[in-house]
């Protein structure tokens, strides 16, 4: 069964990446990637929600009837989001002030719902938990990379305010790449999000083609 788990990990992180391959969860991707820190925070919050709701749905998958499954999924996700929301408000209040509005919107993010429907409702508990974790981490990585590119080009910094998210120990991550007042402003604005996300999708395709998988193969084992 080891290969099965490897498959799940690889799917989540790269092959079937939520943002760069399936193009799901575009709303938080565009809204929250104005900096690498925001992207990382949003990604981690989503990953926690996905792992927890995948686990719950897999546990109760025999009890959830076909007819009401979507409302049940949404309720489960909403409950998990509320937990994350309150936790962040209590322990990471400064970051919560920045991300707050968008945390609640994880409920309507289509990536958690898609994984519940396509994976957790059919697979064993351990597989589903793994899928939730690694799909979430793949989402986190994509958001952080998009955020980093937009932040470097747009405002000339990288991981600004990272200590708010990760604690004072990570102060060293905060750096200034370009001198003050030299950013390309459009990258911070919404069009920049689409440009960078689109170019990263292209980059992933190029890497996949180089690796000999071919464009058809790259998306072939989506569930």
């Amino acid at each position: 069964m080891a290969t099965d788990y490897q498959r799940i990990v690889k799917d989540g992180l790269w092959d079937n990446n939520g943002v760069l391959c399936m193009l799901l969860g575009m709303c938080p991707t565009m809204a929250m990637t104005t900096s690498a820190t925001n992207g990382l925070g949003m990604g981690l919050a989503t990953a926690v929600v996905m792992a927890a709701s995948n686990l719950l749905v897999a546990l109760f998958r025999d009890r959830i009837t076909q007819e009401v499954r979507i409302p049940v999924y949404i309720l489960i996700v909403a409950a998990m989001v509320t937990l994350v929301d309150l936790t962040m408000n209590a322990w990471m209040h400064e970051l919560y002030k920045v991300l707050g509005l968008f945390i609640a919107l994880i409920v309507s993010n289509c990536l958690p719902l898609a994984r519940l429907e396509a994976f957790a409702s059919k697979e064993p508990v351990l597989n589903s938990l793994l899928d939730g974790i690694f799909m979430g981490l793949g989402f986190t990585i994509s958001l952080t990379v998009i955020g980093a590119v937009r932040e470097i080009i747009g405002s000339g910094t990288l991981f600004a305010d990272a200590s708010l998210l990760l604690g004072p120990a990570f102060k060293f991550l905060e750096m200034r790449i370009l001198p003050e007042d030299t950013g390309v402003l459009v990258m911070i604005l919404p069009p920049g999000g689409f440009l960078v996300a689109g170019l990263l999708v292209v980059a992933k395709r190029i890497l996949d083609v180089r690796a000999g998988k071919g464009i058809q193969m790259a998306g072939a084992h989506s569930v």
Binding site: V186, M187, G198
Partner: protein, 362 residues
């Protein structure tokens, strides 16, 4: 009939009219029509403007070559049709003439890479590449993109020479800008209105119209010589490169509301003449909105498209935070082009407008 031709498909009834028309030929004609206004701009703004034009056109061509290479296509045939040169040229005409070199490089690359090749190259793009690049530049670098200079003819004593001009374009000589910087008419009007000064006090008699006519005023290359741009446009009309619908509709849609509102309150609204001759209206109406790729195909659709461009330009100029709105207006109408095209279809031959077959004539 050529030897070896299949007689079944060979054209039989002579004589046949042939045409040497091609993309390259159309582009070359448009460039010829642009030439007088460009040369006038070069004369008014001197060497920095010439360098900026070269850099912008070069960057646009470079972007095209890079994308063609990446796509595994031959660069030469696509490049030699001149469309990338024209895109860079139109962009250069819409920039502040003394802008630093990297504005031209960023804009030129953005125009052909993001505005055109990403969609699949010539004929595939949804938005006018030059205007997409101008808007990207305007939101990204608002300071550099609104640093207008007063015209300083190339032969004037104070004008920068060949070397000094190069240093201005390379950004090594920016302090000198402060001495001669100046607001364009539309920008000036917007600032003063927001300070509560009305137009009757602001514009001394004859100031706006007279300056607009001679073209010797602050603005981009393609803004100052409005009459030469219009003359180039009329030339293209006569050569049937463009049709009259888009330019006339756009100019009318700027002039009519301007004239009406000016009549109501001359202290708040500029007159129609100033609106027509300022900013990018002439360049937009004749050279940019008429882009074959991004404008509707049918005459009625073109009228709607032109009127939309003009009206939006006027609305943005008058009530938004930006003093000029041609680029935004053209891009917004570009996005409506598919809808306009499907709503204003020509009547099918032999059918009425609803598509019902006509009664046969007895």
């Amino acid at each position: 009939m050529k030897p070896g031709m299949n007689p079944a498909v060979a054209p039989v009834a002579a004589p046949h009219a042939t045409t040497a028309n091609s993309v390259g030929r159309v582009m070359a004609t448009v460039m010829t029509a642009l030439l007088p206004a460009t040369l006038c701009g070069f004369w008014l703004f001197g060497w920095p403007a010439i360098y900026l034009w070269i850099v912008t056109v070069g960057a646009a061509m470079l972007g095209e070559i890079l994308c063609l290479r990446l796509g595994g296509r031959a660069a030469r045939p696509a490049l030699s049709d001149g469309s990338a040169i024209l895109t860079g040229w139109l962009l250069a005409l819409s920039l502040p003439p003394w802008a630093p070199w990297w504005i031209g490089v960023f804009g030129g690359l953005f125009a052909t890479v993001m505005g055109k090749q990403v969609f699949g190259g010539l004929g595939q793009n949804l938005f006018n590449p030059a205007m997409a690049a101008r808007v990207a530049l305007l939101i990204s670098f608002p300071v550099q993109m609104t640093a207008w200079v007063a015209p300083l003819p190339i032969n004037a004593a104070a004008a920068p020479g060949i070397i000094e001009g190069l240093r201005i374009t390379l950004g090594a000589l920016s302090p000198a800008l402060d001495n001669i910087s100046s607001a364009s008419l539309l920008g000036h009007v917007k600032t003063e209105l927001s300070r509560g000064i009305d137009l009757l006090h602001l514009l001394t008699a004859g100031h706006a119209a007279a300056d607009s006519l001679s073209g010797a005023r602050a603005g981009s290359l393609g803004e100052t010589a409005a009459w030469l741009i219009a003359a180039g446009g009329v030339l293209m009309l006569f050569l049937r490169i463009i049709t009259w619908q888009i330019p006339i509709a756009m100019l009318a849609a700027v002039a009519l509301p301007a004239a009406l509102l000016h009549l109501v309150d001359p202290g708040r609204y500029l007159d129609a003449g100033s609106h027509l001759l300022s900013g990018g209206v002439m360049l937009g109406a004749f050279f940019i909105a008429t882009d074959y790729v991004t404008s509707p195909n049918t005459p009625r659709g073109q009228l709607v498209f032109g009127a939309g461009c003009g009206l939006l330009t006027y609305v943005i100029r008058t009530w938004s935070g930006y003093p000029e709105g041609v680029a935004f207006a053209v891009l917004l109408m570009n996005s409506l082009t598919p809808i306009i095209d499907s709503s204003f279809r020509p009547r099918v031959y032999g059918r009425d407008r609803k598509g019902v077959a006509l009664e046969p004539i007895k």
